[in-house]
């Protein structure tokens, strides 16, 4: 077993190969990336392009915040502003969130379940490239979309593109078509990857790894893959219907010809709400790996963690209309969706308590992955509670479409998802590149970003309470919103150096970081049993496991897990 290396105290880890060493050139590197079907390279490419789009969409958000610093500011034209928030939202969900989570899935699932690659390596590469070009297509709208009278440019209909704003009458030019096609394409990539994840985990687990012994990380991605397969087709369907509306005279959403504007909302949110869980469950997946290792204890209540995940996924398919409490549903309809939405808080609460239970009685190591996970727990608690407030329909009648909602979902998507992604990057970077990320730079990143994050988004709860609607390019003075917007913008100015520290750390540590070795965190899952970075075939000999923590068994032969599970 390749894992023999971890018990050999004299084994000296060689520094990993780098570009520029031993005749490796950039042209090799690029060829390597374009033609590869290796799940690890594709995983890193997913994460890398996700980070690239993250920076672009983040710059757009910065412009948005600058515009809102002063009331009646003329820094940006309304159309430019509207394009920015549309592109920011669309990119962050479809070009940052989705590829980042699939990147982690791709890189880690085959190693964690002890196999050599995904079940369909070429489908995997196809999925990545379809996603990547869908991103380029979306951004190409800035150059390609202008139509008659130069109407168009980038999409400006908001990331959920409510009809009939997308009808030909209100969205001239081709901007909406770029949005539609980019999302349709990205959806194909996501479906391909999800099918791949399911087949891989169901067919390629190593000897001894029953479903009950899979790392929770893998379990959560199985649930995510099911959710993607169920939730994405309605999105693709409504994109196709919209295109038919715009070009072939179908009248699904065209209200001027008797179509139904609310129909779009049902289609979109029956995708859109499971999508939120598609994005956040991978965050939980990372926390499920990081928190036990840095508490030095196994996850508390593994079976109920799996059950809670499945429950969240199942209920999430029945909550979509809580985005629509203001469209005028009957009181019965509103009550139903309020109940289903609140019920989802129960399994989510179980998860939080189980993480606390995992830490209870442990020995907490405050390394960077753990620090990001602790911040995640705190921020996700806030996000969850504001979510409960939004589920209370009367409260929601005030809060929906206000800045409170903006604050809420940024606490979910940044405070929870992005923080766990950062934790995951700090945790597995040594595995992927053989070198540790610098601790000092990492803490600069953590503190600047955390302070900036709270300063940016906490005040938005208050401006929402004070009646500030989302997506306004300007506001009049005297409405009580100035100070909260100004704090928010200052927060962004603090976040930016945090991100710069992070990006610098990624590059610096690649060349200069401390050599990590195979198992720098003294962890327990199979990815730490192979070399860092792992060879293309992952394991010389496929491993065999007897419990959920095979490396624990190896390191503690006198007290192995399989005696207790």
């Amino acid at each position: 077993m390749a894992s023999d290396t971890i018990v050999d105290p004299d084994f000296k880890v060689p520094a990993p190969e780098r570009v520029g060493e031993e005749g490796k050139t950039w042209s090799h590197v690029i060829q390597n990336l374009v033609f590869t079907v290796d799940h690890k390279k594709l995983g890193l490419m997913y994460i890398g392009s996700g980070l690239l789009f993250f920076v672009v969409a983040g710059i757009m958000a910065t412009f948005i915040r600058i515009q809102l610093f002063f009331p009646r500011s003329t820094f940006l034209d309304p159309d430019v502003f509207n394009r920015f928030f549309t592109m920011h939202g669309t990119a962050m969900v479809f070009l940052v969130g989705m590829p980042m989570i699939f990147g982690f899935a791709n890189y880690l699932i085959p190693i964690m379940i002890g196999t050599r690659d995904m079940a369909y390596p070429r489908l995997n590469a196809f999925g990545f490239w379809v996603f990547f070009f869908s991103g380029l297509l979306l951004y190409f709208s800035y150059f390609g979309a202008p139509g008659l009278y130069n109407a168009g440019s980038a999409p400006d209909v908001g990331w959920f593109a409510y009809s009939p704003l997308t009808a030909k009458a209100f969205s001239r030019g081709h901007s909406t078509d770029y949005w539609t096609l980019a999302i349709l394409l990205g959806g194909i990539g996501s479906l391909a990857t999800s099918i791949n994840i399911l087949v891989t985990t169901f067919c390629l687990r190593c000897k001894g790894m029953t479903l009950g012994r899979m790392p929770l990380f893998v379990w959560l991605f199985v649930v995510v893959a099911f959710l993607v397969i169920i939730a994405l087709p309605p999105l693709s369907a409504c994109q196709i219907m919209l295109t038919l509306d715009r070009y072939l005279g179908a009248k699904f959403f065209d209200t001027q010809a008797g179509g139904d504007a609310v129909l779009w909302q049902h289609f979109f949110w029956i995708f859109g709400h499971p999508e939120v869980y598609i994005l956040i469950l991978p965050g939980f997946a990372i926390a499920n790996e990081v928190i036990p290792v840095f508490s030095r204890k196994p996850i508390f209540g593994y079976p109920i963690m799996v059950a809670a995940t499945v429950m969240i996924a199942f209920i999430s398919l029945g909550v979509w209309a809580h985005h629509m409490f203001a469209v005028g549903m009957t009181s019965l309809g509103n009550t139903f969706f309020a109940i289903s939405t609140m019920v989802i808080a129960v399994p989510t609460g179980i998860k939080i308590f189980n993480w606390l239970g995992t830490m209870w009685g442990g020995k907490l190591h405050f390394d960077l992955p753990m620090v990001f996970c602790l911040a995640f727990l705190f921020q996700f608690l806030i996000a969850g509670l504001t979510g409960v407030m939004l589920a209370v329909v009367p409260f929601d009648w005030q809060l929906t479409d206000s800045y409170f909602v903006v604050a809420h979902f940024h606490y979910v998507l940044i405070g929870a998802l992005l923080y766990t992604l950062f934790a995951g990057i700090y945790y597995w970077y040594p595995k992927a590149f053989g070198r540790m990320l610098d601790r000092k730079l990492g803490f600069w990143h953590f503190w600047l970003f955390t302070i900036g994050f709270h300063l940016t988004f906490f005040p938005q709860h208050i401006s929402g309470f004070l009646g500030m609607p989302r997506r306004i390019f300007t506001y009049e003075a005297g409405r009580g919103w100035e100070i909260w917007n100004q704090l928010s913008t200052i927060g962004v100015i603090i976040q930016i150096p945090g991100i710069l520290f992070f990006v610098y750390n990624l590059i610096y540590s690649y060349y200069k970081g401390e050599v990590a070795g195979d198992d720098p965190w003294d962890a327990w899952t199979l990815e730490w049993a192979t070399t860092s970075p792992p060879p293309e075939y992952n394991f010389e000999k496929l491993p065999e496991v007897r419990s959920r923590r095979p490396l624990w068994d190896l390191k503690h032969p006198d007290d192995p897990d399989w005696k207790f599970e």
Binding site: P78, D156, V346, L374, A391, Q398, F465, R471, R479
Partner: protein, 340 residues
């Protein structure tokens, strides 16, 4: 950075002397539905705050208590895999909290959505347009725009006169939101939604369109002017009173230009041939406080600027620059200023 004048203080327009509630704080409700929402919200906030302090406190305690100390040996802590009893406890307690929240929520939903309004309730119909509000008073035969005048109601059910608002849209989806009066309800094309307000005090209440509706979504502002029943009736009588004909040569020339240009295709003025329905009704234009759905105070300077080129005050709005000469713009402005 400042493009156009602030719209805070005015002397112009009906109801301009009323107290203004510019900061639309949902925690200072001044109308019955908003107050019912407020009561429910406070309860929810308290419950959420308690949960927050318990869980965050627990997290903090764990972080302090179980952190690895430098004096610790390298022994691993006891390996605990779970506990059915504890897990059961933290499943049941959230379920109980959820049940309480569901009961409170469904009660308030019913109270607001299924409220029975008295027969004499004022009824108005608001039609959303890209980027302004058309306001009808079917009981009075009045049409106006952007500024909604309603009578004050009362906490005493015997004296209360709530206002029912029927919401429709002429183009895309908008949302009617005046936080101190009620929660928001969408205006959706091909659908009719209803809401009601029941304000306790007089004053001008500020609100916005809350559903993104295109370029000038930010400048689709709302004002609800709540006045005493007597003043409201006075306003109604004034809106129905005939407009005096233009007097000066410039005003008469302005009227000629108004009718000779495309203005009539989009705007309505009283019983004249100007019967356009795409833009705001101008019959009693000068009784309003603002133009462009709240983008600027209504005064001579702003009105002239708007007539000359609406794209200066509200870029992207659907009224085009009519390419008028300066003298023509001034004449039309003078004519419009007689509409009071």
């Amino acid at each position: 950075m400042m493009a156009v004048g602030a719209t805070g203080a005015h002397a112009q327009g009906a109801g301009a002397d009323l107290p203004t509630h510019m900061v639309a704080d949902m925690f200072k409700p001044l109308s019955r539905p908003a107050e019912m929402i407020h009561e429910t919200s406070l309860l929810v906030l308290v419950i959420c705050a308690v949960i927050f302090f318990v869980v965050a406190g627990l997290l903090l305690y764990i972080v302090l208590r179980f952190r690895k100390k430098p004096t610790d040996n390298t022994q691993e802590p006891p390996q605990i895999y779970g506990s059915t009893n504890i897990e059961l406890a933290w499943t049941v307690i959230p379920i109980l909290i959820t049940v309480v929240l569901i009961l409170v929520t469904s009660r308030t939903i019913g109270e607001i959505q299924n409220a029975k309004l008295p027969e004499d309730a004022l009824q108005i119909r608001v039609v959303g347009h890209q980027w302004w509000w058309e306001v009808h008073y079917p009981q009075y035969g009045i049409i106006t725009a952007n500024e909604i005048h309603i009578p004050v109601s009362s906490k005493d059910p015997a004296k209360a006169r709530p206002t029912e608002i029927i919401l429709q849209s002429a183009d895309v989806i908008h949302s009617f939101w005046v936080p101190q009066l009620a929660g928001k309800v969408d205006l959706i094309p091909n659908r009719t939604n209803k809401m009601w307000v029941d304000p306790y005090t007089i004053g001008t209440f500020f609100g916005n369109c809350a559903e993104y509706c295109g370029t000038q979504h930010a400048n689709m502002l709302l004002r609800v002017i709540v006045d005493t029943p007597e003043n409201f009736e006075k306003w109604v009588a004034d809106q129905k009173a005939p407009v005096p004909p233009p007097q000066t040569a410039q005003e008469i020339e302005g009227r000629r230009l108004y009718y000779a240009n495309a203005c009539v295709n989009c705007h309505t003025i009283g019983d004249s041939v100007s019967k356009g329905i795409f833009g705001p009704d101008l019959t009693k234009l000068m009784t309003r406080q603002t133009i462009g759905a709240g983008v600027a105070p209504l005064n001579h300077e702003n009105l002239l600027s708007w007539v000359r080129d609406p794209q200066i005050l509200k870029v992207g709005c659907l009224m085009p620059n009519m390419q008028l000469l300066d003298t023509e713009a001034e004449a039309i402005t003078a004519y419009l200023e007689t509409l009071k």
